[in-house]
Symmetry: C2
């Protein structure tokens, strides 16, 4: 350990820190003459540095005891770096192709060092705004979600392992509370942090606050988020937590991780793809009307769910004689009951996914944290039109999610709302 | 602490222990000449001693590292005494009229001393077998359940308090696993521990193991039991965990306590009342046909649920501007939405209650632990008839619970199955 107590690093002190930590300095071939440090934290919460020299590279992420994008007025435990690291390691073990390797963790400093995702890796959200297609994205995300969610659930785990890990991640309560507030509460009430495209969406925002059926549904999802310890979820799996090239898909930033409902992760990803879809009209121009790209997004939404569903069931079938507590082989190993329980499990998960996806969409339009997909549409009236379509769709999805029987019905409904 | 390491006590060593512990010896007026110790543990798990002299009295309960009724071949952590004590204290704080006071706890010895529930207190189950009416039972149990469940849920608690306590009670995993096995698994498969009235119920037991729809339903309840941290539940709230007189109702033995679904407690109590109902025909004789008593049991079932419902909603309304995370006042404080969310919450809880109640009934007929209500019917064929009616009703309740809209519909269905 390089420092005996916490201090926020800057480029200069980080340089000293790296020299003092063998696992980091060895990555640079112990050559400290030519290495460069660049601060790149464009997220909402942390400081992120890229460290590179001719021998190697890594990323350093340090959590400060407040939320970076708001400032010291919104304190937030720096212990989140510990839970992020635990999750990077556990999800990395389960899905090594899609999670960056952890090189070093320093709990005192709330600092984690991990693989630098070199160019041309970019944040998926930026790729979606630029209109870039990622042919392997659905396959990769389905694989990551199927593995991380299946193997940390009671479909694979014993209750002993499950309760031990649930207890550990109860420690990440401050990050859970942040989600409870900004996803499940603030958008449905007057809050100093809420923002929206005004005055265009003023009535829409009010309508959300006055919609009793919407509040009924969001309360059910909030209870599931707070009470259902289904799997070790990423907790913030939007398109800004994924880095991509055409060949590679890497999931980063699991500092919100805890034992929660699987649908919260799948919904976050699909919901943000739907937001990207509704933002496309704001990015269309004479050169590119984005019509083909919109179809690609819809196909990616369908493929992600369908591939996830397939991979999840394959894992279940492979491990149905394992030690998972939920469906003991002596009870459930006949084809008919196996089909029944899997169908019910997936149907419930699908409806959770749509509900949480809708909740994540709504909060990005009327809550504190907006997304570049919409924010980069400079014409406010055009942006409001895109946002209103997305909001209307999300409200419908949240209230009527149990009527949808498959993902194709969802993309049909999205198409119907686009004009 | 009287002993520096764990040892099972007998009457002689307990005598020395009491003398060495001031909080206990003072209860006896520090007079050790005349005090008597009587071992009375008739439960399945522990050793229980009643200690009395002219100055005072108390009960000593010691957990040994195995299950008493099975023996050392079924090990079980003695740490359960710690979780029992935690829960006696917390539930006792919330419902002091219905939980015996804790005088002393010794974690090393897995020993708890508490109020002796003096005669005429008897175990409720024995009263039900004897055909005794308890006019305040429904009111008292409704009060106990409403308070303990409401105040330990997110209707009253902040997420911070909730996750802290959830984490603590994850430590009681061995007792949770025991319930998972004997309630949710063993009855639905071949298990060395299962027992039933044979040969009369052989076909019925087989039918349970071959009923795919029943297995589908029990899997959903098992998942809720393992994953849903709704409130600090007693975890074993059958009629053997309640001591009564005509005026007093005392809930004991919460060693299975953890953060689980509320319906598991309410269902355990109502399910065991339904079992008591179906056992009555086996206790009828020329002197007493038990018809009036059966009506009293049905009324007690209805009253318990209806009073619980009423009291729970009163607590919710009283505390709706409090710090409970689930329904923030800024969002839910309009009469229309308040009605909507309360109706949904109670409907879901009602169906959980019926499902868990049914599961607890089934396991008492085909699983390892039977109940005196049936066991005391010496004529096997008569007993089998009573058990079969109860089993058929429980299967129907488990599979069709969502069709029941109120407790009166349940008692109507019970009546229909009695002949």
């Amino acid at each position: 350990m390089a420092f005996s107590e916490f201090r926020p690093l800057d480029e200069k002190s980080l340089r000293e820190y790296i020299k003092a930590v063998p696992s980091l300095s060895s990555k640079l071939g112990n050559n400290f003459d030519d290495f460069t440090i660049k601060e790149v934290g464009d997220g909402n919460l942390n400081f992120v540095y890229i460290v590179v020299n001719s021998a190697g590279s890594f990323v350093i992420k340090q959590a400060l005891p407040y939320i970076r994008c708001i400032g010291e007025s919104w304190p937030m435990t720096k212990e989140r770096a510990y839970f992020e690291t635990l999750t990077l390691k556990e999800h990395g073990r389960l899905s090594p192709e899609h999670v960056p390797e952890v090189y070093h963790f320093d709990r005192t400093m709330s600092l984690v060092a991990m693989r630098y995702l070199e160019p041309p890796h970019i944040i998926l959200r930026k790729g979606l705004i630029a209109g870039l297609e990622y042919p392997l994205l659905a396959e990769h995300m389905a694989d990551y979600m199927a593995k991380t969610l299946f193997f940390t659930s009671l479909l694979f785990r014993s209750t002993t392992e499950h309760k031990r890990d649930v207890a550990e991640f109860c420690g990440n309560v401050e990050l859970c509370r942040l989600t409870e507030q900004v996803v499940f509460s603030d958008p449905y009430k007057v809050s100093q942090y809420n923002r929206w495209t005004t005055p265009d969406l003023d009535r829409d925002v009010e309508a959300v606050r006055e919609d009793n059926l919407l509040k009924l549904e969001i309360s059910e999802l909030k209870s599931k988020f707070c009470e259902r310890t289904q799997a070790l979820i990423h907790g913030d799996l939007h398109t800004g937590s994924v880095m991509v090239t055409r060949e590679s898909t890497q999931v980063i930033d699991p500092e919100f991780a805890f034992y929660g409902p699987m649908g919260f992760d799948i919904g976050a990803f699909l919901g943000n793809l739907i937001l990207a879809f509704f933002a496309q009209d704001g990015h269309a121009d004479e050169v590119n009307d984005r019509k083909t790209y919109k179809e690609w997004i819809l196909k990616t939404i369908e493929d992600t769910w369908n591939l996830f569903h397939h991979k999840f069931i394959v894992l279940w079938d492979e491990h149905r004689n394992g030690s998972g507590e939920a469906y003991l082989p002596e009870i459930y190993n006949n084809p008919e009951v196996q089909l029944l329980v899997q169908k019910k499990y997936i149907t419930d998960l699908f409806h959770d996914t749509l509900g949480f996806g809708a909740a994540k969409m709504i909060r990005r339009i009327v809550g504190v944290a907006h997304i570049e997909d919409f924010e980069s549409i400079t014409d406010a009236s055009k942006r409001a039109t895109c946002e209103r379509r997305a909001l209307d769709f999300a409200k419908k999805l949240l209230k009527e999610r149990r009527k949808f029987e498959g993902i194709a019905e969802v993309t049909v409904a999205i198409r119907q709302l686009q004009y």
